[in-house]
Subunit: 220 residues, 2 copies
Amino acid sequence: MELTTAEENYLKAIYHLSEEGKKSVATNDIAAEMKTKPASVSDMLRKLGEKEVIEYRKYYGLQITESGKRFALQTIRKHRLWEVFLVEKLNFAWDEVHEVAEQLEHIQSPLLIQRLDAYLNYPKFDPHGDPIPDEFGDVRARPRVQLNEMEIDQTGQIVAVKDSSAAFLRYLDKVGAYIGARIKVLDKVEFDGSLEILVDQKKTLFMSKDVSANILVQQS
Amino acid sequence: MELTTAEENYLKAIYHLSEEGKKSVATNDIAAEMKTKPASVSDMLRKLGEKEVIEYRKYYGLQITESGKRFALQTIRKHRLWEVFLVEKLNFAWDEVHEVAEQLEHIQSPLLIQRLDAYLNYPKFDPHGDPIPDEFGDVRARPRVQLNEMEIDQTGQIVAVKDSSAAFLRYLDKVGAYIGARIKVLDKVEFDGSLEILVDQKKTLFMSKDVSANILVQQS
DNA sequence: TTTTCAAATTAGTCTTGGCTAAAAATATGT
DNA sequence: ACATATTTTTAGCCAAGACTAATTTGAAAA
Ligand SMILES: [Mn+2]
Ligand SMILES: [Mn+2]
Ligand SMILES: [Mn+2]
Ligand SMILES: [Mn+2]
C-alpha cells in the first residue's frame, strides 16, 4: 500500500500531534497544523481510516495505528536525513532546510534513502537535534526538558529546539545558542518566567519564557 | 509564473521531441512519450498554450516558445545535476538514476540547485553523456554522430547514449562500451547494418544496428 | 434535564490531470 | 474529386484534494 504526498503530510502531522499531546487529536488542531480547513481534514481522516493508518470514529476521535506509525516514522526519517544532507554537504543554514526537506521527504526510492544514510555516515540526529528513526522506525530519544522548567544552578546541554521556524532559529544564531552548547541557569525571574543563563562558561544571556520553552536541554 | 509537475514533464517531452525532429510535434508522439492518451495531451496543450510556453493552433501544431524553452532547460538542468549526484556521490549505477531524477527534478528551490551544482563542481555532462544546461539555459553541445552512421576505419570516442533505459545501459556495461571509450569501426555489414568495432585498441565487439544507433560518438 | 455552543461532518463546488467514446478536421488513395 | 483512414479535439466522466455553507453531534452550562 502506498500513500500520496498529501496523505504522508497529514499522517506526519497526526503523528507529531499525538506524540506531544498523548491523547486523541482534534480535527481543528490538524487543520491548524496543515494550514487547511477542518472540512478538508474530515475528508482526509475518512480516507486515512479506510487505509487503516488511523482508527477513526467520527465525532469521537482518532488513534494512529501501528501501521500508521511506521509510515509516519519513515517520512520523518527521510525528512531529517535530507536536512542533515542540506546542512552538512550543501552548507545550508539550519533555518533554511525545513521547506526543502518538506518536499524531498516525498521522493519514493528506498535505495536513495539507504545510500543517503550511508553517505551521511548514519547520523542519529538532525540539525535541530531531533532524533532520526532507523530503517525499522526505531528512535533513540534522549531524555530532555524544556529550558524554562529548569531551576537555578542546574546545568545541561542544548540538544534540540521545539520551534524550527526560520525566525526562531535566526534569533538563536544571533545570541549564540546552538545545539551542543553547555548551559547553566544563573537566575530565574518568577514574575515572568524569564531566565539568565551562562553559555559555554563564557557568555551570559537573558531570555524570555517564550524563548526558553522552545529550547530542549539534556540535563547533567 | 510557475508550472505544475505535470506541466514540467509535458514541456520537457515537447522540448525533446522538437529538438530531435526539428519540425512540429505530433499530439500522438507526445502521448506515446508521456504514456498518456492523445485526449489528455490535447487538454494539456491548451493549458500550456494559455501559459504561453508553447504556441498552439489546434489541428495544426505547436511550437515551443522562448519562455517554454527556458522552463524546459531548467528542468533538464535539474534532472541531469541530480543524476550526476546519484552516480558520483551515492554510487548509483548509470542505469538506476533516471526514475529517481524524474522525481527530484521537480523539487522547487533555486538555492538547492545552485548549491548542488557547486557541490558537484559544476559538471558539464550527466552520466549518460548529455550536456547540462547552465543556469541561464545555455548548452554547450558536442557535435556527435550515431555510431551506425560511421564508416569503416573511422574512429572516435563514445560521448553519449540516446536510449537511457536500464536494459540498454546494462547491456553496454556488460559488453564494456562506456562513455569515454575510444572506438574504431572495423567492419560494417551492409545487409543488416551491424558493426564490428574495436574498443580501446584491445577488444572487438559485434553490435546490431539497433544498438549502434543508440550510441553517440564524437569523431576524431 | 434542557438549552446552548463549539467542534466536526456533510453537501455541493472547483481545479488538476487522467480516462473513453464521439465528433471534427486533416491527410491519403483511387 | 471523392471516399476513406488517420489524427486530433471535444464532451462527458472520475478521483484527489482543496474550499464555503449548511447541518449534525457531543459537550458544557444553566
Ligand atoms: Mn524539520
Ligand atoms: Mn512534506
Ligand atoms: Mn519528472
Ligand atoms: Mn541522463
